[in-house]
């Protein structure tokens, strides 16, 4: 188990390194004077010089990266090109809403897909049809479109939820949750619908399996066969698929935060990307990648706990 954890952590670090290297690589690919291109219309000789200094553009690529890495490890991610603020502080200030979203979306997606999948496997019939249709809609409608529709119906017309904005946890858990309901639904919908189909499939297979038959034949309670034995066997393969879904969902945070006007890391990334504020873009990309890595590690842990073959072999 420890070796498994160590391996996943190393992988996670590798991923972060790759993403961080990506920015440098891309900047290096800019033909001509990179600083000039980046600053575009705002270019003045002074700014060009400053940017070149900031991004270490005059040094060879590996040195650039190494300099950045040394700083990054110590928590220094540079300063924003737009307002000179420390990137680390900028991102930190926006962590809470995004973290809330990521955690809630993960929980909701996992819970909903398991519940939906099991329910449609056991009841079949109209529930399965409903889940299928939901899956279809979830696939066909990008998260931000769902968000738009949800806002129109539930926020503007029905006024149950706020149209936009984020209420920090310190202002009260009720209001905090209320401001997050619509965004979380928008982000979890397609992932949950997708994964629930996998869970349903696995559940049906588990219920059809030889061991389910043997246990039933020898008198095990129906409840136990279904919810203790078959369910566990069904969740295990479904977890792998959920990891992929969640990665996509976490990526869609940027769009959702924009639609809902949530002052999180995602909307920061979008605004900095549109304004070519590279250090911020890089840091936010790393932040999200870190989220994905952690979520994947947690899912892997859950998988290892449920599946003895992983931890014992």
């Amino acid at each position: 188990m420890l070796r498994f954890l160590a391996r996943r952590t190393v992988m996670g670090v590798l991923v972060l390194l790759v993403v961080s290297a990506l920015t440098f690589l891309l900047v290096a690919l800019i033909p001509g004077n990179a600083a000039l291109t980046i600053l575009g219309a705002q270019a003045t000789p002074a700014k060009i010089a400053q940017l070149s200094q900031e991004l270490h553009l005059n040094e060879p690529l590996p040195v650039q990266y190494w300099d950045w890495l040394k700083d990054a490890v110590r928590g220094n991610f540079g300063t924003s090109l737009l307002n000179g603020q420390s990137v680390a502080t900028l991102v930190e200030g926006r962590l809470e809403p995004t973290l809330s979203l990521v955690i809630l979306v993960t929980l909701v997606t996992v819970a909903a897909s398991i519940w939906l999948g099991v329910f449609s496997a056991l009841r079949g019939g109209w529930v399965a049809r409903l889940a299928d249709i939901g899956g279809l809609l979830g696939l066909a409608t990008p998260g931000f479109v769902v968000a738009l529709l949800l806002i129109d119906v539930f926020a503007v017309k029905l006024r149950i939820f706020p149209v936009e904005g984020y209420v920090p946890l310190s202002s009260g858990a009720g209001e905090w949750l209320r401001s997050l309901v619509l965004p979380v639904i928008a982000m979890s919908l397609s992932g949950a619908a997708f994964s629930s189909k996998q869970v349903r499939q696995s559940m049906l297979e588990a219920l059809d399996s030889e061991f389910a038959f043997t246990l039933t034949a020898n008198g095990f309670n129906r409840r136990s066969v279904v919810y203790k034995h078959a369910l566990r066997n069904a969740i295990v393969p479904a977890l792998a698929m959920m990891g992929v879904q969640l990665a996509g969902a976490i990526g869609s945070v940027v769009l959702i935060e924009t639609v809902f006007g949530i002052p999180g890391v995602g909307s920061l990334m979008v605004s900095s990307a549109t304004q070519a504020d590279l250090p911020v873009v890089q840091a936010t990309a790393l932040c999200f990648t870190a989220f994905v890595v952690v979520v994947n590690i947690l899912l892997d842990l859950l998988y290892a706990v449920l599946n003895p073959k992983v931890s014992l072999q």
Partner: protein, 657 residues
């Protein structure tokens, strides 16, 4: 090769619709300037935000531009971007999947690692980073995003490659000197083509979602050029006041994504049949009625052929009226008229009016080839398979197992009837320890504390002759051997101290030496606990060792039944006789391997007469014409039945097989 490429498969209407839509969208995007020569920026403020009209079929946007026109032109960046992304995933994912799957070893591991890293990075974010550095360069963004989204394609192609590579004909091709390139071209490419096509469609759907996201953020095309995402963003600003505007882009993008999803086989086609969860039951009364003629006719004359009019019935029905379920207290289980057929588009009869009694304390063997229906019978006793229909009665101590009273059945399972299956490695839940499953079995049937149950579990393991039960108890099923697993399965079955044990080929999956041990164990348990065993097997050696009586099944029917000694010494049915001769254990040292020529008739294609006639050396014309009944050859002594009209000749030795 050409012939195969032109092979027309059945295409569902959904797939056809998807292709049509995709073609329409592509056509519209490519020929937009021909279809709408006024261009995408034909503004007319007076016509702003109108609903559908004759002039603008889908309405207008805030600047009075027709939505249909904007969507037509706006399809271009989306389709172009998606095409680039898909092309990249196919090239990179496909090539690396092929390389990894085919070459294996370190190359495979390295590629797997790279793929794992790539899929941990959400595609959308990568795109944003690229946009930040190369603003407005949609092509580059989609290319880099595609790079990071190659992981699924890689996995699928690698999987398909591995499957093909490990197939024997590829090994044969290599052995005959075919080069790697030729193998790839000839064997892999056709298989991979379909897999790649399907995955590429799926990727296209995702790519469109991503590109629309970029468009929504205003990143993909410079204004006033339209893009689907941009139109959505625009419409979202007027959502409450002019709701119509958002409808066409949602519908168009949604349909396009769905269409690619269908082609990517992510969306199930509605033609899929729904499977029933429980088998249906028809009341007994619908069994075919029989004339009373056969009442007298089923008793055979002492000599010669059984009277021809015995076989006047078109099908071998033993109706419940004729031979009712036994009320003899020595009979534990009485099966009558058991018929099992599959539901679904093709009705196949698996078991055809089978009837037998299981007497207390005996070991009854059920013998037959694969497909004869033995497992169908035994599994129906426990729980009929989902896609079958069971008719007839299976009376166990007054309770009809086919009856469906769930509570009564639940009370019987485990406590009075237990089951051991063929494959010990799949009989137990792989995620729970042996001990846990045994304890649960014990506590289901007896009121014990966890500690007491654990002790009982260890005793149970000892009683099935498992050495060091404490160690085995803590193991998971995948950690123990087949023989040990089967013993554990037997222990599980005995946890409720049942009277009847159904053993469905319990030793088939085991090594020969282990077979002997497990059979010996079963015999011992039978003696010590007075167990009644219904033993399914295809091995006559096992029958000789273990069974008191035996039933032979052929194509869903009983063809012979009787005491083992009798059946062995004087088989009364050519099939039984032939099976005994074909028994590999009994073959003469250097003689030819005897087998029964011909093949078992396919279900649904039963001949009119005797089902064994085609392969029977003793067959007469009458055999092929009339379906024979099961007749009791020694009604006074009781219990040697046969379905062959020449049974007595065979028994006497007047004819041989």
């Amino acid at each position: 090769m050409v012939g195969r490429a032109l092979h027309i498969r059945q295409v569902s209407w959904v797939t056809a619709a998807a292709w049509t839509w995709v073609a329409a969208v592509v056509f519209g995007a490519v020929f937009a300037s021909l279809l709408a020569p006024q261009g995408s920026d034909d503004q007319n403020v007076l016509a702003a935000l109108q609903g559908p009209s004759l002039q603008h079929i889908l309405g207008t946007d805030p600047l009075g531009r027709g939505l249909l026109v904007r969507l037509l032109y706006g399809a271009r960046p989306t389709l172009e971007g998606a095409a680039i992304l898909v092309a990249l995933t196919v090239c990179i994912g496909g090539a690396s999947g092929l390389a990894g799957g085919y070459l294996g070893g370190r190359a495979d591991r390295a590629l797997a690692l790279i793929s794992d890293i790539a899929q941990s990075v959400p595609g959308l974010l990568v795109g944003l980073v690229v946009f930040a550095i190369f603003p407005g360069n949609l092509d580059l963004v989609m290319a880099v995003t595609g790079l990071f989204m190659s992981a699924p394609m890689y996995r699928i192609v690698r999987g398909a490659t591995l499957t093909v590579r490990n197939e024997l004909y590829v090994t044969a091709a290599r052995a005959s000197g075919l080069s790697h390139a030729a193998i790839i071209r000839r064997h892999l490419a056709p298989r991979l083509a379909r897999v790649i096509r399907v995955q590429a469609s799926m990727m296209a759907a995702l790519a469109i979602v991503i590109e629309i996201g970029y468009g929504f953020l205003g990143l993909d095309v410079p204004s006033p050029d339209p893009s689907w995402g941009g139109i959505l963003a625009n419409a979202s600003q007027y959502l409450s006041t002019d709701t119509w505007m958002i409808v066409p882009p949602i519908v168009v993008t949604g349909l396009t994504i769905l269409a690619f999803g269908v082609l990517g086989e992510v969306v199930e086609r509605p033609a899929r049949r729904r499977r029933r969860r429980t088998p249906s039951r028809r009341p007994l009364g619908t069994a075919q009625p029989r004339s009373s003629k056969s009442a007298a006719a089923t008793r055979a004359p002492a000599d010669g052929l059984l009277a021809p009019d015995v076989f006047a019935e078109p099908s071998g029905v033993e109706s419940a009226a004729e031979v009712p379920a036994s009320t003899n207290p020595r009979v534990l289980l009485s099966v009558r008229n058991l018929s099992i057929e599959t539901t679904g588009p093709r009705r196949l009869t698996l078991v055809d009016h089978v009837g037998f009694d299981v007497r207390r304390g005996e070991v009854l063997g059920l013998v037959g080839e694969t497909g004869a229906g033995k497992s169908a019978v035994t599994r129906a006793l426990v729980q009929p398979a989902r896609n079958t229909r069971v008719q007839g009665s299976m009376i166990f101590d007054g309770v009809d197992l086919a009856g469906g009273d769930k509570r009564k059945l639940a009370a019987i399972r485990g406590r009075r009837i237990a089951y051991v299956g063929q494959d010990p490695m799949s009989a137990l839940d792989p995620l729970f320890r042996v001990e846990s499953q045994l304890v649960e079995a014990i506590r289901t049937h007896r009121d014990l504390s966890k500690r007491e149950a654990r002790a009982a579990a260890l005793r149970l393991l000892a009683s099935v002759r498992i050495p060091s039960p404490e160690i085995i108890a803590r193991q998971y099923p995948f950690q123990i051997s087949g023989g040990q697993a089967q013993r554990v399965a037997i222990a599980l079955a005995l946890a409720g101290d049942p009277e009847l044990l159904i053993a469905d080929e319990p030793t088939t999956a085991l090594d020969v030496t282990v077979q002997m041990e497990v059979l010996g164990l079963l015999k011992e348990l039978q003696r010590d606990r007075g167990l009644t065993i219904l033993l399914v097997t295809h091995d006559w050696g096992v029958v000789a060792d273990m069974c008191d009586r035996v039933l032979t099944l052929y194509v869903g029917e009983i063809v012979e039944s009787g005491a083992v000694r009798e059946v062995f010494k004087h088989p009364a049915h050519p099939y039984t006789a032939a099976l005994r001769q074909a028994d590999p254990h009994l073959q003469a040292e250097d003689g030819k391997l005897t087998f029964i020529p011909g093949a078992v008739p396919a279900p649904g294609k039963f001949p009119d007469g005797c089902r064994f006639a085609a392969r029977c050396p003793l067959a007469l014309d009458q055999c092929r014409a009339v379906h024979p009944q099961l007749a009791d050859l020694e009604p006074e002594k009781g219990g040697h039945t046969s379905r062959c009209i020449r049974a007595n000749e065979l028994r006497r030795g007047a004819v041989h097989v």
